[in-house]
């Protein structure tokens, strides 16, 4: 079974601070990590490999420093990595073509796994885009995946319903955070991973034509959050009394 896991390096959104004068998020110097659901995707790949054998390749379009994060994924259990630095002007369309182009260059694949969405941009369009470009079936929001000899059966979580879909290979699956609990690599695995290769491919090597973005980012605006921040501490009975008075005053107790 040849499995490709698409993993994105993202800024750790929990660490973003807002500039108090411009109200814009400060994006420089924020710690980077692998997007949460991409670790779920890898965990699922490892489980499939444990049962059926095969090879797991991590594919990342990202800055050269993403290599450090990719090493964590090799330590978890992936076999090798492919890293492609994006061109200066990139949008969803450009990144999807690079990912799909790289997958075609890798050549043989049965299952491609992605996160349902990245935690920074959270658009959730990469998986369906890649499947569309490769013209293969897609199963999104999978909360459970069972791989058999020549097909996969997965459960799509639609909130009030679950849709159980089966597909032959190759297939692209996007996974939810609930599908599994990603493992933490052992020290042994971390040491052993240093011998696993990460190939760096130039963007020009994976797509035939130059890619032109379809979207232009005009601005990244802050979100004003003006709240009263009246916090009662100390005596609980008094605090409760004051809170109820305030709620009555602002008219929400009717």
């Amino acid at each position: 079974m040849n499995i490709i896991v698409c993993a994105k390096q993202v800024v750790d959104v929990a660490e973003i601070k807002v500039d108090s004068s411009t109200k814009k998020p400060i994006l420089v110097g924020v710690p980077q990590k692998i997007s949460d659901m991409d670790k779920n995707a890898l965990e699922e790949a490892i489980k499939i490999k444990e049962k059926h054998g095969g090879k797991i390749t991590i594919l990342t379009v990202g800055a050269p420093d993403a290599k450090e994060r990719m090493k964590e994924l090799l330590a978890m259990g992936a076999d090798e990595g492919v890293l492609i630095p994006p061109p200066e002007h990139a949008d969803y369309h450009v990144i999807a073509h690079l990912l799909a182009g790289a997958i075609q260059k890798i050549g043989s694949y049965d299952i491609i796994l992605c996160g349902e969405a990245s935690i920074d941009m959270f658009s959730g369009q990469m998986g369906p885009r890649i499947a569309g470009l490769l013209n293969i079936p897609q199963i999104t929001y999978a909360q459970q995946v069972t791989v058999e000899q020549n097909k996969v059966i997965a459960e799509r979580n639609l909130g009030e319903k679950a849709i159980i879909i089966e597909s032959p290979f190759p297939v692209l699956i996007t996974v939810t955070k609930e599908i599994n609990q990603p493992r933490l690599p052992s020290l042994m695995a971390i040491l052993a991973s240093s011998s696993k290769p990460i190939h760096e491919w130039p963007a020009t090597g994976v797509t035939a034509e130059a890619l032109v973005p379809k979207l232009q980012t005009l601005d990244i605006k802050g979100i004003p959050m003006q709240r009263k921040n009246i916090i009662y501490q100390n005596d609980l009975d008094q605090s409760v009394g004051k809170l109820v008075d305030e709620l009555a005053k602002v008219g929400v107790l009717r």
């Binding site: 998020p25 369009q125 999104t140 409760v240």
Partner: protein, 316 residues
């Protein structure tokens, strides 16, 4: 032309409002697409569509591959420039695949949509609720998905004239198939329409204790209980229809009470538009207090019974 599609009727009507506005500014027409059946076609005309295309197909249940190929046909045939798709999970997987097939730009979960310098411009929340990205299309066709409740439907106009065309499509046949559909556990709550919500998080020690929250919700006459992700997704103490946040439901009640919730950015993303926000947390440093109008620092097990009886008394 501006095209509108969703597998939910309500969302289609909401999108038709925005589509009519854009079409007017651009001197274009509005097409609504219905796949499989024509039962809502007249209503779509009455709410702003100039034309309804009813796609007749053998694929009755939504499937991304087949539905993408139907929309692709219609978009090419009618030279569609703007495509508005309802932003539920099906809509998003459709929009992404369609964007790839058409080599088009696509903006997901757009909360504002307008023309700026005559170009279609969108706003969407990024960095888990820390910022809004303003993105502008530089080419056609342009695909945008819009969540429910961003726009209201236009009032019904029974005199609006329009055309309904039925057309057969030999859509692409995907090798995947739906085996079956399973109802998931649900308690039938609708947090998105709730006026008052009391929510619980991991500050609760066991499932039974959630009654402290429902008792407060009851006296507030809100009767709606919400929760953070771990309560629904990991502990499964409540069904997913209670789940609020970035990956759950987005709510805007008049009053939101967060009990034992730390206030991580992904939770805030779902409730930041609430009228008044109250937080109860034993940790004075908890992030939730930064997003709250009022807060009480202390043990929720002591505070909630006191708060419930004080409110009961106040409301008489």
């Amino acid at each position: 032309m501006v095209l509108v599609y969703s597998d939910e009727k309500k969302l289609t009507l909401e999108l038709l409002h925005k589509a009519s506005e854009l079409a007017k500014e651009l001197h274009k027409k509005v097409i609504a697409v219905a796949v499989g059946h024509d039962e809502h076609a007249t209503e779509y005309l009455e709410h702003g569509a100039d034309l309804v295309v009813v796609a007749e197909t053998s694929q009755h249940q939504f499937k991304a591959e087949e539905y993408t190929s139907i929309l692709e046909h219609i978009i090419k045939e009618h030279s569609i420039e703007i495509v508005l798709i309802g932003s539920n999970k099906n809509g998003k997987e459709l929009a992404g695949r369609l964007a790839a097939k058409l080599d088009a730009g696509c903006v997901m979960d757009c909360t504002k949509l307008y023309l700026h310098d005559k170009k279609l411009t969108t706003e969407r929340i990024v960095y888990s609720g820390n910022a809004i990205a303003v993105e502008q299309f530089t080419s056609h066709p342009q695909i945008v998905t819009i969540p429910s409740k961003v726009f209201d439907p236009l009032p019904k106009n029974p005199h609006q004239k329009g055309e309904i065309i039925k057309k057969k499509f030999d859509s692409e046949h995907s090798p995947s198939k739906i085996q079956r559909v399973q109802e998931m556990k649900s308690e039938g709550v609708n947090v998105e329409d709730a006026v008052i919500i009391v929510s619980c998080g991991r500050g609760f020690k066991k499932k039974e204790d959630i009654k402290l929250v429902s008792e407060l919700a009851d006296v507030l006459k809100g009767r709606t209980v919400g929760c953070s992700r771990p309560i629904a997704a990991d502990l499964k103490w409540l069904s997913e229809d209670h789940w609020i946040g970035l990956s759950g439901h987005k709510v805007k009640p008049k009053l939101y009470v967060a009990c034992g919730i730390s206030g991580q950015i992904q939770h805030i993303a779902g409730m930041r538009d609430s009228g008044v926000i109250v937080a109860i947390n034993k940790d004075p440093e908890a992030l939730i207090f930064k997003s709250a109008d009022y807060g009480i620092v202390g043990d929720l097990y002591e505070i909630l019974p006191k708060l419930t009886s004080a409110i009961k008394e106040k409301m008489g």
